[in-house]
Symmetry: C2
Subunit: 347 residues, 2 copies
Amino acid sequence: MLEHDSVRAIEWVDDKLRLLDQRRLPSEVVYLDCADTQSAAGAISAMVVRGAPAIGITAAYAVVLAAGAHYRNHPSSWKRRIETDLAELARARPTAVNLGWALQRMKGVLASVEGAPEQALLAEARLIHEEDIAANRTMATIGAAELKGTAVLTHCNTGSLATGGYGTALGVVRSAFAAGNITHVYANETRPWLQGARLTAWELVRDGIPVSVLCDGAAASLMSQGKIGWVLVGADRIAANGDVANKIGTYGLAIHARHHGLKFMVVAPSSTVDMSVPSGKDIPIETRDPEEVLSCQGHRITAQGANAWNPAFDVTPAELVDLIVTEKGKIENPTAEAMRQHMEPDR
Amino acid sequence: MLEHDSVRAIEWVDDKLRLLDQRRLPSEVVYLDCADTQSAAGAISAMVVRGAPAIGITAAYAVVLAAGAHYRNHPSSWKRRIETDLAELARARPTAVNLGWALQRMKGVLASVEGAPEQALLAEARLIHEEDIAANRTMATIGAAELKGTAVLTHCNTGSLATGGYGTALGVVRSAFAAGNITHVYANETRPWLQGARLTAWELVRDGIPVSVLCDGAAASLMSQGKIGWVLVGADRIAANGDVANKIGTYGLAIHARHHGLKFMVVAPSSTVDMSVPSGKDIPIETRDPEEVLSCQGHRITAQGANAWNPAFDVTPAELVDLIVTEKGKIENPTAEAMRQHMEPDR
């Protein structure tokens, strides 16, 4: 079976964190090396790296950089000094819970490590990274089994670029295409950052999966024409009741899918589920610079004097979600009770 | 009462048709003079001028240019020779019915004119233009009375730039703002041509009406937050059953409005109603060059090898429309019967 899986956006190379600069895709394939926390946190804020799982993995590697530097300079007080770095990383973006989740895992190792910390921390960061890819492959198998001989619509980028590798919703796409369960992918361009047009199309073309890009406003028309069977998206945070925060535009797609009797699948590792947040109303939604909307790819498109409203995410209520897939399995018609059972530690 | 109305995109100047080049707004305010049918038809196809009423008016003036040239060169056979020009104009864009409607009116004058035809044809073109502005003012009064102390969302551009002047849905906005019935306008950017970001924002800023641009994918989130009371759009063709063809993205907005219990108003002159077309299924929908989606403002945004799906319009079924406003009055919950009554000749 062909893998249709050739892209990796995050690597640990020569004691540094190497990130594929996603702001410059697809026109340029350029890597950015981060040697300290500040550059890693900056890369997360500026969206050099984006995608909930990917920013968690990036933050984990950034902790290795921070610990190494502080230990070399202050071997007795480094555990206190690193707190500032952990806080800076946690603040880099507010909506995706994977960032805080990954930092918690790294703090667990930090607490117990003695002597030079880098080796133990790097091992944990690598484990987080490998577990993410493994989770993606598990989710892909579960999700792909639901898709039968149909085209799908996806939003934003949920592929290798958004994760440790392989992807969440795009992982399902990769596996379903390899198995012959789907033959075509429609990708919403996903303004303002155009992750669909720039990143999803680039990944899928590279990996030999046929893709058609459409403007976000055309999705309802696509659905009305019977061209697709499923809508597949990722998530930045899933609340305890199954509400899903994801890239702006996701909520509208869920309404459209329900209106047309199509199925709506959310694919995300269990690290994206935040059981401490009762519902979507409690998820912090990042509002970004209006310039991202007033411009397109750095070119101003609107008149001076116009404002813009630029929420980066929206919340899809659980009742519009047909299926959530995590590496633990699938949740049909998610509810608070179903989420609780799914997230039980012994599963 | 302030007019909030300063823009005109179509003028007859020095025996030529002068068009504001809408492809270059808002960064440049440049006019294009058309001296013959070919340049006018080209301007319609290339979207120098766009908006259903505006392309009808443009075509009417283009007939004056065609008739003048043919009469000068072939005074005895000009009425036969002009047929090619009329056909070229009719083909310039397929979805908006106002183009064919305006050409029909000009043909009525053509059939009866004797001797030099320009004066009579120019008078008819000017009448079409003036009647359009008058219709917009009438519709604005009817529509504005529905809006009470709320913000509204609009899509594409339906203002002075899209019409003879004042606008359809934006005419309602102008009048409602002047009357204090609304205080703010949200404008979908409307990819791929960005008519909302480029044109609606430019018009409204110029005329002192506060406007916030949002990405098309953010509209559902805006509605869920209770920020708006009405969605206002124009139309390119309204079928005999009340189905509405309009800029791609309109159908999705209508679904969202209904989902959130918000009202959806279509504002269009009766020249946009095509009683010969039973339903939206019978309206030809223009599919445009994929490059419009694969690029943004001339800059390639997607990987080579990706395709794009680029329908320029979609169809909103009548059952999702709460109100159609024409210069003849308003139609609540449009049906075939209500449309028939509304369009009766004696009204």
